[in-house]
């Protein structure tokens, strides 16, 4: 196993901006993810999180500013070189033709194969190991269409692992997973960061998952960075209520000492209002 210093690569953006048909989606966003770090990207719907992920993954080359993977500008990078370093797990994938799970995971070897080359037995072993790490080894011969969304998402994560990425971009990868598989997925993400030095930038909506698993957080609002820093610095009552425009209850998880954030329902807000001295 290689040391974290040699295996992982950094992700960074410098004053990145992007417009969809003239409408600004991101403005002046600068962030940095070091090898071995798990960094969370949070913010309300439409705040530009997925756009930032897509820019770093190379599918939106018409961005302003600079976006770099391993120090190389994304806009001018060769697709295959980028994919050999960087894997992306989107929120949802649609699969066209009825490939089997193992065949889907083997697609992760694409950037490492030349031309028409066939996957070697080593590639197949790697794909099987990736499936195993994602708790999906038993699905190997199933057709992808026959799986539940949660199972599919684990297969997609296994495909990302088979890519042997040195940096990972995750766009709400756990939204279809039950709590056990959410935890297992993020445990695995942390393990990759710690043992392989993989740099991880992940979009998530669950503030408690973010508090538990992320080293640092960027909070986006209306395409700009509203707050950035360590989780306990960013997840303050003031930041969260301003950015998400809703009431939250912030406490400490007695077991882990991490932050505990509960969004308040309309009923809970009324209870709160009655308790407050008028």
């Amino acid at each position: 196993m290689t040391s974290p210093e040699t295996r992982g690569v950094s992700l960074e953006t410098e004053a990145v901006g992007f417009r969809y048909a003239g409408e600004p989606a991101l403005e002046e966003v600068s962030l940095r993810v070091e090898p071995g770090e798990v960094v969370g990207l949070l913010g309300p719907n439409g705040s530009g999180k997925s756009t930032l992920i897509r820019i770093l993954s190379g599918v939106l080359p018409r961005y302003e500013g600079s976006a770099r993977v391993d120090g190389g500008e994304v806009r001018t990078a060769r697709r295959k070189d980028l994919a050999a370093k960087l894997a992306v797990v989107p929120q949802e994938t649609s699969f066209g033709f009825p490939f089997t799970v193992l065949q889907i995971v083997l697609m992760g070897r694409h950037p490492h194969l030349a031309g028409l080359a066939f996957e070697t037995p080593q590639d197949v072993d790697l794909a099987r190991a990736a499936l195993d790490r994602c708790g999906a080894a038993h699905l190997e011969n199933r057709t992808i269409q026959d799986l539940s969304s949660g199972e599919r998402q684990r297969v997609v994560f296994a495909r990302a692992l088979a890519q042997e990425p040195r940096a990972l971009l995750l766009d709400e990868p756990a939204s279809f997973l039950d709590i056990r598989h959410q935890t297992e997925l993020y445990d695995l993400v942390r393990e990759l960061a710690v043992t392989d030095g993989t740099a991880v930038l992940t979009v998530l909506h669950d503030l408690n998952l973010a508090a538990e698993y992320c080293d640092r957080i960027y909070l986006l609002r209306e395409g700009r960075v509203a707050a950035a820093g360590r989780t306990d610095e960013v997840f303050t009552y003031a930041n969260l209520t301003t950015v998400f425009e809703t009431e939250v209850y912030v406490d400490t998880n007695d077991l882990t000492g991490q932050l505990l954030v509960v969004p308040l329902s309309g009923r809970a807000r009324r209870v709160l209002a009655e308790k407050k001295p008028s």
């Binding site: 697709r79 994938t93 699969f95 066209g96 490939f99 697609m107 694409h110 066939f118 269409q145």
Partner: protein, 344 residues
Amino acid sequence: MRSSEPLTRKRLLAWTLALGATLALSVLMGVGWGTGSLSLVDLMPGGTPLSEQARAVFFDVRLPRVLAAAVLGGALTVAGVVFQALLRNPLADPYVLGVSGGASIGGVLALLFGFGGAASLLGGLAVPSFAFLGALGALFLIEWVATVGGKLTVYTILLTGAIFNAFAAALIYFIQTIASLEQLHAIVFYLMGSVPLLGYRAVGFLAASCILATVALLSMARDYNALTIGEEGAAQLGVDVERIKRRTFVLGSLLTGLAVSVAGLIGFVGLVVPHLLRLLLGPDHRLLLPAAFLGGGAFLVLADLTARVAVAPGELPVGVVTALVGGPFFLFLLRRRGSRYDFA
């Protein structure tokens, strides 16, 4: 050899040989069976020596026609496979992107101008030449319209192709109303699709072009696999999506244009055979593409044989046979396997 297993060199070779043998067998059946007195037994070593007339039937009529059927079936099936992959749509066929409409206009115009006879301009190749020019014209026009901001958008190609085909159909109806009865008959027969009688030189040219295009498409087979998960997902796996789309559109359209130019609109081969092969072999394009060329060839050779002998001494347009067999078969497949596709 389950289709679910990862593709290996050995499995590819085994299936290619098996389908190659199927094609060879179909060709043998095609040349050995027909309305004349010639039979396959006569061709075997030790059979009765061939008469002058039988030799002529064999070498000048049946063999070139069967070879042309093999190449055309292969070309149409390969075009069907790559268009289905490009558009991520299992219902795509070689004609869906409009090039066939351009070829039809060209061919029909040539017939209207009276270039149809073998004695006329270009020794019988006037109609295919005009049709191919029409196909090229349509190709450039559709690519130009569908390129937005330097990108070829799949929905725009599909829409442009559909509209161009509708336009072509209207233009052809117009031509049919002003054509003489004799011309009308030639036009209708041309459009229905049939395997033409070409000289060896023309068949050779057709075969060489189609094989070259197929090999070029085969070089992108792994990219088509990745495109299954969508353009963005494929790009994130390292596929140069724009380049792949453009090359596929051009090469697939050239294959279609060549096929329609010489044979008219032979339907269903390019739609049904890809699905049949996917059922048999799984969706990996590295295997699917060579299989499409060989299996599609065998399918059309047998369909053409049926067209020749079914209503002997008359002859059916082969497009009628492929659609009569292909239509119900496709519905059967759709009923059984339709839910296996997931193009959200």
